[in-house]
């Protein structure tokens, strides 16, 4: 049960049994909360880029926790190590848990090898949002981009760690690499840049939202090595 099983107290938050994630709140409750998040952040910034970055940060904080939760609950502590595996995991499992459905589409960029796109006709966070004209390309999907970013960063870092430790197993090095893994989780040395964009769709009143994932070069090299 989510929400602290009925007045039962635990000494430590980690002693609580893991919720099964079935509990729900109303969509409006989330929309109200999200709107406050955006409005508050608007008061702290001077421009759109900064606002998107701050939303992304908030999403990143959510993503880090969702990642841990899902790895325990949905995947029996296993993580994806391959590029496509991770992408489809985000597209289906993560999306399903967070937004109640798999994402509308997952595509590979046609112009660049290192780009992938997850698209959603009506992204939950953009549902009740209309962007004023003077805010140009601002997209609240930045929040979701933050969530995705963490997933990419962490999974690949762990993968990287496994890969390197399999060829060298001496302890000092191992510790150093564990440190690296933590660093990536904290946001340093990201192997992917994730951004949110509006894409107009013909015959549709509202544009769809596309989350663009651009992997760092070393990721693709690694992937190529693995064949």
């Amino acid at each position: 049960m989510i929400g602290a099983g009925k007045i039962k107290q635990y000494a430590n938050v980690l002693d609580k049994p893991l919720s099964r994630g079935r509990q729900e709140v109303s969509l409006s409750a989330f929309a109200f909360l999200f709107s406050e998040l955006v409005q508050y952040n608007q008061t702290r910034v001077d421009n759109i880029a900064e606002l998107e970055r701050r939303l992304e940060d908030a999403g990143y904080a959510v993503g880090a926790r969702v990642l841990e939760l899902l790895c325990h609950r949905e995947k029996g502590n296993r993580r994806e190590t391959r590029l496509l595996g991770i992408l489809s995991f985000v597209h289906s499992t993560v999306w399903k848990v967070l937004f109640g459905k798999v994402a509308d589409s997952l595509e590979k960029g046609t112009e660049h090898e290192d780009e992938y796109m997850i698209s959603e006709k009506e992204l939950l966070v953009n549902r009740f949002i209309s962007i004023p004209k003077d805010m140009g390309t601002f997209n609240c999907g930045a929040f979701v981009a933050g969530i995705v970013k963490v997933r990419m960063g962490y999974d690949l870092a762990v993968f990287h760690w496994l890969f390197v430790t399999s060829i060298s197993s001496n302890w000092p090095k191992l510790n150093k690499l564990l440190f690296l893994e933590k660093g990536v989780l904290d946001g340093a040395g990201f192997p992917a840049v994730v951004t949110a964009h509006f894409v107009p769709v013909e015959g549709q009143h509202r544009p769809r939202t596309t989350i663009l994932i651009k992997f760092a070069e070393e990721v693709l090299q690694r992937e190529a090595r693995l064949g």
Binding site: I2, G3, V25, F30, Q39, A58, V62, V66, V97
Partner: protein, 186 residues
Amino acid sequence: MAPLAPRTGDAVFANVERVNAELFTLTYGAIVRQLLTDLEEVEEVNKQLDQMGYNIGVRLIDEFLAKSGVSSCVDFRETADVIAKVGFKMFLGVTASVTNWDAEGTSCSLVLDDNPLVDFVELPDTCQGLYYCNILSGVIRGALEMVSMKTEVTWIRDMLHGDDAYELRVKLLKQVPEEYPYKDDE
């Protein structure tokens, strides 16, 4: 159109669109964390959370009245009951119980058994003065103000501070009489 008959909290909740509570919980956590980083002082964070709640409450009451079919309450007792049984259920999927009425019937406690805001949360020593769920008190205050009731909402018990439940004290300060005729534009 005839006014809708009042509906139970369960019935309303079953009919609204819903999202995963974890997304909600973690997003709220991200907000609190952002506030703590930005404002540094725990007191300021409490204030800001209350303000955010107030902003939400002011808007949320419209949806509440539209979807629940609740009409004017005869007294504050009924109001408190409606908040606990329909309001909380409709938005957060949980119910509260109303207890500890004072003799005049102007202040009572809302006790929450289950609170989706606090899942995965533990307060570090540096945040002991933080009312993590302060947004809720703001929501109630804001919503009631829109239906002509000035209230004061404070936390009495908080499980994050080691108490055995979440208890909100709601005190009716003043009931602003409604003015007739309404100054509508139409």
